[in-house]
Amino acid sequence: MTFLSLAVFLPFLAGLAVLALGRGGRLAEGGTGVAVTVGALHRLAFSFPPSDLVLSGPFGVHLFIDDQSALFVLLAGLVVTAVAPEERERPPFQGLVLLLLGACNAAFVSYDFFNVYVAIELVTLLGFLLIRWGGGLRRTWAAVKYLMTGHVGMILYLLGCLEAFGATGSFSMAGLADLPPLALLLMASGLAVKGGLFVLGLWLPEAHGGAAAPVSALLSAVVVTTGLAPLLRFASVEPRLLGPLTALALLSFVAGSLLALKEDDYKRLLASSTLAQVGLILVVPALGAQYALYHGLCKGWLFLTAGRMPHRSVTFMARKGLPWPLLLSLLGASLALSGAPFLGAPGLKESLGEAMSPPWGGLFKILALLTPIYLLRPLLGRPRLIRQGGWQKWLFPLLLSLSLVMMGHFLGWTPSHSVIPAVVTLLLGLTVAFLLPLPGEGKGGPWALENLENLLGLSVLFAQVLLLVWRWLP
């Protein structure tokens, strides 16, 4: 119960207090973030047994807290803590971030289809307000697209809920194994829209790339996982979903990587990379929560550093070079995300490849080459020394290296037999990154499929394909 009050009630209370008082935003945000992190770490460190709570009667709200939900809560707490000192916005903003933290945590601990729906919709509404924070036509339009696509996805999810209720007589996820395929497919596709899986998740580069840096960090690291966490639960209980999900996840990985390769705007590149990494979170459901934590921390770091950069063009970065502290910060997180040995959690990426069935595992090892190419290409310019600024400018990279070493400790070191393959992959990626021509300044930008008409059309098309699949599924 303490965990629940720390993870869900405290952020809501703090958020409402900040909204009501209109001051003390950053302090409240940092404090709440630390409290949530400590609560989650405490739960993970002492390996509590999973607790199964049904609040207010047999038809009430069903909550389930296990290691998976604790890992996601840890991620949310860490990212919110990291984001707090970077914000330049006025207090109502921090109130919204705190409410977002509470809503995300509520989604992670819910074990009830309808409760998940409510939490995710709350996250979407708050995400909408945060994306358009700061105003401007581009941000507002990206936010409107985000809200409309998300709402259509959630309508699909609700139809699935109804089907599930008709079959089992309750909304609890305990009856997941008895669901008809139609209910499962509808709910899974609704969640895939929120989780940013490819084709359905094309709203993602525009929304995440266009928002302010702290918002992008929150969205890419935490908000996306509110759709993925229930999907991971689905996949772990229901083997029928595993095949289609793996295929969709790998497709998402390839498509996101290719989109990132042609992008010149660094923040859009990072957002496309999220599109790709979302696939890796889903590819092996048993390791999903750990990979989400790992990706969320690296990606949050990259977005926050990107917010400090003077310009966002990848071509410009690669030609003119970056100041040393920024370069080290980006390099550390990029190398960790590409699976370099001794940084972050390379053992995790290795076990991802090993956990997949043979044809997929081999394919995955080849495809893993794509990540270092697009992440390291902007960093190949010759670094610059900057004179202004004291020792504080080194604080950021120092913190990163510390947390990367910590992460390696928690999530598993590289097994010694896989150091050489990892280095070879990295070197190959670097060589390709050197040889590949740069996109050119101002190139890339939104794809034709990313406009509102196509986003909505794609979700409708996806639903139709789904209905066809349902006809032919045993």
């Binding site: 709350l122 036509l137 409107v144 406009n451 509102l452 059309g457």
Partner: protein
């Protein structure tokens, strides 16, 4: 059974409006039609056992199932909040763009 198909077709009509209309405001309203269709489907799902209101002390009889109706109340509120937010910001966009055509706004936002 007929009612169920009618309600499903309301959802589909909303879908057609959502995809077919170019005007953003029409799209938003069509989305609300879809939402209303889904909500009515939930209410109808509760109705299956019987038409009577599930009130205590009302005597025995065929009661409607209160759970889907109670649950969908939240979805109504959420749908309302989404609709309100979208309409406000679409108004905001129309003021700075002087158009409601989706592809026109798209082009201007990329400038």
């Amino acid at each position: 059974m007929v009612l169920r198909w009618i309600l499903l077709s309301v959802v589909l009509i909303g879908l057609v409006g959502l995809v077919g209309r170019r005007n953003v405001l029409s799209k938003v309203l069509a989305m609300d039609v879809m939402n209303t269709g889904v909500i009515s489907l939930f209410v109808h799902a509760g109705y299956r056992a019987g038409p009577r209101a599930p009130l205590l002390g009302d005597g025995a009889g065929a009661y409607a199932d209160p759970i889907p109706q109670a649950a969908i109340l939240t979805a109504i509120v959420i749908g309302f909040a989404t609709l309100a937010l979208l309409i406000v910001y679409v108004m905001d966009i129309s003021r700075s763009c002087t158009t409601l055509d989706a592809s026109c706004i798209e082009r201007r936002s990329r400038r």
